[in-house]
């Protein structure tokens, strides 16, 4: 009976793979260098964990099949065993080694995905500001002077640097097939580095719960050739309206707006917060002079 339980997880794993339609899972289907690093890290760690599980399972099966009462003589008296120094050292030291190895891998891969992806020569990354408000994403391209809502287009042969912040609750910017997620917060800027090496349309979403419309807070990330990208920019600049402060405030207030494009960004009249470390003081910098005077009087 007991052994059935032990194979259960594997049966489940098999079944679920079949049921999920045999497509590769999104995390294991990376379309860019950073997501690939993470995918490899994850696969490596799964293998390590399977080995650990195997050890535990083999030991358990062994104990349960050998030492069950029904297999023992009725007058068998189990011995008194204090423990074993040797064994204890073994099962302390080996996990410490495994953990050390995993820690090194962690530091290495973390620093890798927190940097500009390699392999793009010294091409400057394309900077895109991604900001969230209930319940949508705004993408501002300062270099190109365009802004979109709920979709983002990126060129494939250039590294991208997303700069994230939020006009409300903490959200998390996530395009699983291109890079891991990062929080967008109201008082500081965070960054994601990524690059797409295949053209295609990828699911992006907010993964950090942000209230009623959270489930719908998805966007499309479309990777396209530099040529198509430039064309698209040209199109937007020519055909779409400018983003005025009034229009932007209206956007912030509306819960769901679908896709939008504008030929200017909100960064000009609503600048992004500072990077961390400088934040908290930005209120001071934004302060009007008369506030300053008022403060001096407070002594």
């Amino acid at each position: 009976m007991k052994k059935k339980v032990l194979i259960l997880p594997f049966v489940m794993a098999f079944l679920t793979l079949v049921l999920s339609g045999c497509q590769p899972l999104m995390i294991f289907d990376p379309k860019g260098p950073n997501a690939r690093t993470l995918s490899n890290t994850i696969i490596m760690s799964i293998i390590v964990m399977l080995v650990i599980l195997l050890v535990v399972y083999v030991l358990l099966i062994n104990m349960l099949s050998k030492y069950r009462a029904s297999k023992q003589a009725p007058d068998y008296e189990p011995p008194h065993e204090e423990g074993s120094k040797v064994l204890e050292v073994v099962w302390t030291v080996i996990p410490i080694l495994i953990v050390t190895a995993l820690a090194i891998v962690t530091v290495f891969t973390t620093s890798k995905v927190e940097k500009k992806p390699e392999g793009y020569g010294n091409k400057e990354p394309l900077v895109i500001y991604a900001s969230s408000s209930n319940w949508k994403w705004h993408f501002s391209y300062p270099e190109q002077g365009v802004e979109t809502v709920n979709y983002v287009n990126i060129p494939t042969d250039r590294p991208i640097e997303f700069r994230l912040y939020s006009f409300g609750p903490i959200t998390s910017f996530w395009i699983p097939q291109l890079a891991g997620q990062k929080y967008a917060m109201s008082d500081m800027l965070t960054k994601i580095h990524l690059a797409a090496d295949q053209e295609g349309s990828y699911m992006g979403r907010n993964s950090n719960f942000s209230g009623e419309g959270f489930a719908q807070m998805e966007f499309e990330a479309q990777a396209m050739s530099q040529k198509d990208f430039d064309e698209w920019i040209k199109d937007v600049k020519a055909k779409e309206p400018k983003l005025t402060e009034k229009e932007f405030d209206k956007l912030l207030k509306t819960s769901f707006v679908g896709r939008k494009s504008y030929s200017s960004t909100h960064l000009t009249f609503r600048p992004a917060p500072m990077e961390h470390g400088k934040h908290g003081k930005h209120d001071m910098e934004n302060m009007k002079d008369k506030d300053m005077e008022g403060m001096d009087m407070s002594h």
Binding site: G280, K281, D283, M284, M287, D291, M295, S298, H299
Partner: protein, 199 residues
């Protein structure tokens, strides 16, 4: 539990007494973490003054020094009170405790005055993250002192009524631990809020 250890000071006389003192020490351990958390918040928010004043602008040392010496002295006096209790001097003990509590009131008076000054200058608990953290930290300490005043008074009444016995002495001793602890917290506020703030 009824067995008495007659060689120990009155406040340790019964097993129950011992456990109460022990438990109170553990409680003080919890209080250490509580104040450490408030300090963490204060430190992280200390320079996030928004449009409000900074610490340097509002801290004034003279009242803070008064508060410090008042508390240090009261902590000393309650120590003398415990000493008096241990040599069986009920009267002296009560006098020391009463002065201690009065000094607690003086401390509170100065602190309330300080708060009123801040508010008068337009810096309230809602002005900025810094002001919120400052006033919450000071307020929590002040609330402890206030509670201590009420508690200490209740104990004095009991000693007046029933004299010094294993029960009342135990309470008075535990109260002294509490009072010393508040002094320690104040030293940290004095050093890392005020002195550091005006550096």
């Amino acid at each position: 539990m009824s067995k008495e250890n007659t060689s120990a000071p009155l406040e340790y006389r019964t097993h129950e007494n011992e456990m109460k003192i022990f438990g109170f020490w553990v409680f003080l351990g919890a209080e250490i973490v509580l104040f450490a958390t408030l300090f963490s918040v204060y430190f992280a928010l200390a320079d996030r003054t928004g449009t409000g004043p900074t610490g340097k602008e509002i801290f004034e040392m003279p009242p803070v020094l008064i508060e410090t010496f008042v508390l240090l002295t009261s902590s000393f006096l309650i120590g003398l009170g415990v000493h008096a209790m241990r040599i069986g001097r009920k009267k002296a003990m009560m006098v020391f405790y009463i002065i201690t509590l009065l000094l607690g009131l003086v401390f509170l008076g100065v602190e309330i005055n300080e708060f009123l000054t801040y508010i008068h200058d337009g810096a309230t608990i809602t002005t900025s993250a810094f002001m919120s953290a400052l006033m919450t930290l000071l307020g929590t300490h002040g609330a402890h002192v206030t509670f201590g005043f009420l508690w200490g008074s209740a104990i004095l009444i009991q000693i007046k009524r029933h004299g010094l016995n294993a029960k009342t002495a135990n309470k008075a001793f535990i109260f002294s631990l509490y009072w010393h602890f508040l002094d320690v917290v104040w030293i940290f506020i004095f050093s890392f809020v005020y002195l550091k703030g005006v550096l």
